[in-house]
């Protein structure tokens, strides 16, 4: 809502400042809600947090001491305030299995998930966008139908089943790719000791260390899970690209460009694409965020030591601080990505400024 009567920098700066303030408030409220939800889940859960620390054979005094140390005698609102304060300082509690701070553990597991999701999104964009454009420029043709059906199949596929079938065919039968895990077991030890870990992402670390043999091995392991997750995100991206592009191609400025005699590829890829890009950014950010969480099942299948595996394993060990900590981190990443796509949207679309 730009005020037309008073153009010029001052009103615009004020408008931007106001928007940042509202967005900031929204962000804070959303994150607080997130924490409130995990806090409540942690309180309702039928696992006694004290008992899981002190064990079954603790005396009543030991039990009470831990209960006091955890602040469980305080009123509920105060407990929540402590929880929020701790979370703001990066303290999401201690894992019950390992006695390590949850956030440190998550920091160790997160790069594997990030690597997988990034590669998958890359695949989804590189295949999905051209496929969507192809379908939009030839509506009703065979190509359009194929893109549509392949996309719907991606929507309908249980991703854990697809992972199993992928393993069966490409690993078990054809032997084209590495099996579960991030590296062959022979390389696993070498990676721990001989490679300086800058990022925790194997492909990047091995490349930086110049260990191309290990890079190749890591690539053969990641290509299948990333390809399968990428297929799912491609399904979404191609479908959205198609519908945005169809909408754009019906506009008058496209007709004008065509009448001027502009080559068709330029009309589609330069003129229409610039406007398609605006909503597409949101779609890509959403599918990226979805992959960060949707990899829970894929990571289980591929024994991928990422956030999803961390959360599910913690769940089976009744390690609630780890489960809830992981949930908070995933939720926060989700919120951050949404916000980022909002900002990018404004940068790309002049009307939204």
């Amino acid at each position: 809502m730009t005020d037309i009567s008073q153009p010029g920098p001052p009103s615009r700066v004020a408008a931007i400042a106001r928007r940042i303030a509202t967005e900031g408030a929204t962000l804070v409220v959303t994150l607080l809600g997130l924490l409130l939800m995990t806090f409540l889940i942690g309180r309702v859960v039928p696992i006694d947090p004290v008992l899981s620390i002190v064990g079954e054979r603790a005396t009543a005094e030991q039990y009470d001491a831990v209960r006091l140390a955890l602040g469980l005698d305080e009123p509920l609102w105060k407990q929540f305030a402590i929880y929020v304060g701790d979370a703001l300082q990066g303290d999401l509690g201690q894992s019950i299995r390992t006695r390590e701070p949850v956030l440190e553990e998550i920091a160790r597991y997160f790069p594997a998930t990030l690597e997988l999701a990034t590669l998958a999104t890359l695949f989804g964009v590189l295949v999905g966008v051209p496929a969507g454009v192809l379908a939009a420029t030839r509506p009703g043709t065979l190509a359009d139908q194929v893109v549509r059906v392949v996309g719907l199949m991606g929507y309908s596929m249980p991703v854990f089943w697809l992972g199993l079938i992928g393993l069966l065919v490409f690993y078990g039968m054809l032997g084209w790719v590495g099996g579960p895990g991030r590296l062959d077991s022979a390389y696993q030890m070498l990676f721990e000791f001989e490679v300086t870990q800058y990022t925790g992402m194997i492909l990047i670390d091995t490349a930086l260390n110049g260990r191309w043999d290990m890079f190749a091995n890591a690539f053969s392991h990641i290509v299948l899970p990333a390809g399968l997750l990428g297929y799912v995100s491609m399904a979404y991206i191609s479908r959205m690209t198609r519908s945005f592009m169809m909408n754009e191609l019906g506009q008058e400025y496209i007709t004008t460009a065509r009448v001027k005699g502009m080559p068709e590829w330029r009309v589609v890829w330069v003129h229409a694409m610039r406007n398609v890009l605006v909503p597409l950014i949101t779609v890509i950010a959403l599918s990226y965020a979805y992959l960060l969480e949707g990899s829970v099942l894929t990571e289980t299948i591929f024994a991928w030591p990422g956030l999803g595996s961390y959360i599910t394993n913690a769940l089976f060990a009744a390690d609630m601080p780890a489960v809830l900590g992981g949930t908070v981190v995933v939720g926060a990443v989700f919120v951050a990505l949404n916000m980022l796509s909002d900002i990018l949207y404004r940068v790309v679309d002049p009307r939204a400024r």
């Binding site: 959303t30 889940i41 009703g140 309908s156 249980p158 199993l164 079938i165 289980t300 949930t327 939720g331």
Partner: protein, 301 residues
């Protein structure tokens, strides 16, 4: 029959019911032209029939174990899709499992939209603070990754079919609330709502009797489109062992029990996965077609 068609196609309907049925008829004619949507309809119809007559259709008892006939490959006489590690007939288990899938889908399809409609219409009708608070809550639920929230909820509630349904429903309502709110905002200040209000109708009566029916069509489309997602999440929970418990023949659970035999006896995992895939594809195709029919904006010209 011909008379009925003429009655349905009458451009000047004499009653509200005739107009509405006529609209349905036109929608059906449009849907029928779309082969993908029709195949979706056929798949969903087949699922209903198979689930309804499961005990009659299933060639064997889905729970009967026979260790002398374990892990037989597909095509074995008497076991068309083979047997699993307890010698149970996979086809019979898939057929019986369709009831579980339908049960979960049905329960979620009733509870989640109910919650979403309630929150969305109240939020849209009252506006102001109520709206701000309710929509903030909706946003928070939307910001939560669905599968992980469902996992955390099942951890609290304990595994089992009802708890899985509850967890899925609690994660599925926010989109319906959004849709319902948007629809409510468009009718809130319309004349017919004002007329009802002037006649002295209370708020519950206005919302339940006049606002909710307006929102229903768009919510129903969303529900159909979401059903495939619900099936996939339910199967995922079952696969992780957090949903339906053994020995019930839930499809996700069946996939997970076949994981150990993946490389030698591939069919144990593959067959139930195919069933999940086909059924959710059916819901997706149908939802897609329904949207084309009911939403004039996306209909082909």
């Amino acid at each position: 029959m011909a008379g009925l068609r003429v009655w349905l196609m009458d451009p000047n309907p004499t009653s509200r019911r005739q107009a509405r049925l006529g609209q349905f008829w036109l929608g059906w004619l449009r849907l029928r032209r779309n082969p993908l949507a029709v195949s979706g309809l056929v798949i969903v119809g087949l699922l209903l029939v198979v689930a309804a007559f499961a005990p009659v259709i299933a060639p064997h008892d889905p729970l009967a174990q026979d260790l002398s006939r374990r892990l037989l490959p597909p095509g074995t006489p008497g076991n068309l899709l083979g047997t699993d590690d307890f010698g149970r007939d996979i086809l019979s288990r898939i057929i019986t499992g369709s009831r579980i899938t339908l049960y979960i889908v049905g329960l979620v399809a009733v509870t989640a939209p109910f919650l979403g409609l309630l929150i969305g219409t109240v939020s849209g009708y009252f506006g102001g603070w109520t709206d701000a608070v309710l929509m903030r809550i909706t946003d928070i639920f939307l910001a939560f990754p669905r599968l992980i929230l469902a996992l955390a909820l099942v951890a609290v509630l304990g595994p089992g079919i009802e708890n899985a349904v509850l967890a899925i429903a609690l994660t599925a309502w926010p989109p319906y609330a959004r849709v319902a709110r948007a629809e409510t905002l468009t009718v809130r200040n319309s004349d017919y709502i004002a007329a009802v209000r002037l006649q002295g109708a209370g708020v519950p009566r206005i919302i339940l009797g006049h606002v909710v029916p307006t929102c229903l069509p768009s919510v129903i489309i969303r529900v159909t489109l979401d059903m495939a997602g619900v099936i996939l999440i339910a199967a995922g929970l079952g696969f992780l062992g957090l949903g339906v418990q053994p020995p019930l023949p839930e499809w996700g659970l069946m996939i997970s029990s076949g994981r150990k035999y993946l490389f030698e006896q591939w069919w144990v995992s593959t067959m139930p996965g195919l069933a999940i895939f086909i059924v959710s594809l059916g819901f997706n195709l149908l939802g897609d077609g329904l949207r084309d029919v009911l939403d004039p904006k996306s209909a082909p010209k």
